[in-house]
């Protein structure tokens, strides 16, 4: 259920970003909420589940956005593994430090992907603009806390199950003996 719920959340974020949050094709303040989801998966979920959620997300992004297929795959997976590595090495796990890390990783990963694509697909991309990307990184940073809160709610809700499988499962051994 966790995977399904987060895939659904990712789908919703992408659709909102491409419709409601983009009043015109040249709108600057388009929040890259998908990256906040990538960061959340890196911080909270295990590797396997995160990858299962990420695959349909990057597929949707590649289809709906951009003209270079695979760009969002590189961006999302690079961001995911970078954040996972840093959060593992970081001695402090406070939210206060995680929030700016999301924004700065977004900037760094975007720049890296841009250089990569510029090398392999010259002429396809709009030239890099630092102030535009800094504005976007700031937007990602600002949206991190509320979206993390929302994702925590989704995770909490996902842990509840409609069917009490635990209770239905038959135990072969004596439960009392096991507790002793």
């Amino acid at each position: 259920m966790i995977v399904v719920n987060f895939i659904f959340v990712g789908l919703l974020l992408v659709i909102m970003q491409t419709t409601v949050c983009m009043p015109s094709p040249v709108w600057l303040l388009a929040p890259d909420c998908y990256y906040v989801l990538v960061a959340y998966l890196a911080y909270r979920l295990d590797l396997l589940r995160s990858l299962i959620v990420l695959f349909p997300l990057v597929c949707m992004l590649d289809v709906l956005s951009g003209t270079v297929l695979g760009m969002y795959a590189i961006l999302c997976f690079s961001g995911y593994f970078l954040l996972r590595l840093i959060s593992g090495k970081l001695p402090v796990n406070e939210s206060l430090y995680q929030i700016p890390l999301v924004g700065s990783s977004y900037l760094v990963v975007s720049w890296g992907v841009y250089l990569f694509l510029r090398f392999f697909e010259p002429g396809e991309l709009i030239s890099w603009s630092w102030w535009r990307m800094i504005v976007r990184a700031l937007l990602v940073t600002v949206l991190t806390y509320p979206l993390f809160y929302l994702f925590d709610l989704v995770l909490k809700y996902s842990h509840r199950s409609f069917f009490p499988w635990n209770r239905l499962r038959l135990r072969t051994d004596n439960r009392r003996r096991r507790q002793d």
């Binding site: 491409t18 009043p23 094709p25 956005s65 003209t67 002429g123 396809e124 709009i126 603009s129 976007r136």
Partner: protein, 293 residues
Amino acid sequence: MRKKNIRKRSSRFGLFRIVILAGFLLTLALIFLVSTLGSQKFGPLHKLVLEAVGPLQKVVTIASSYIGGFKSEYLDILQDTLRLREENKRLVQQLQENEAILNKSREALATNASLRKLLEFKNGLAQPVIAATIIGKDPSAWFRSVIINQGSNSGIMKGNPVVNSDGVVGQIFTISPNYSKVLLAIAPSSAIDVLLQKSRVRGILKGTGTLTYRLEYILKTAEVEEGDHVVTAGYGGMFPTGLPVGVVSKVIKKPRGMFHEIEVSPAVDYQKLENLLIIEQQNFTELKQMERP
């Protein structure tokens, strides 16, 4: 005994006096009534009565008008306030409903005007067209594209030109059965064969990612001025000839190099894109087959 007799006598005398007095008064009243009915004259008695009752009437009238004034000033206002409040609420609600209807009417009017303009443009084109609406926009910072609600099931093919009533918007980039992605003309990877309407000089129009185009490969020997109209050249069979693309906004004449640096303002307002037309190219399939090795 004696006291009882005395009392009996005094009570009889009292009664007699009362009867006499009543009789006298009744007689006077009768005389007064007869004289009044007969002569119908406002006599001295009437005037006396009037003089006595008049001041009392005056006092009561003043008092009642004062009370009436007090009531109208303070008590009636309360009632009026409540009544007005109810009516105000009702009128505000009615106003809000009317405003909502007005807004809907304005929107319908604007949509009508926009669609009418698009229809006139469509009727002016020689080729068949397919109308489409934008359903999604590219949120990335490096690309410029939109998703429309028509696909291969409607007869759309990759490379079909996309226009609106103002001019060229872009080209179909990818298609699925019911949806397509349009590469906007302002995208850096877009290149359209154009010519300057006045001098008929041919060049390539490329997007910059911003709301301006760049017109390349115009030789310095060509005459170009700000305000020159740029239209599609129609070579290659991709875009029909003569579709408006933009207007020359800046000509940068550099001392070195063979070509001008020309900026073109788009004819289309990319911030208000909504309804588009996809031009079906009749000979498109043949061109595609010719391009294959």
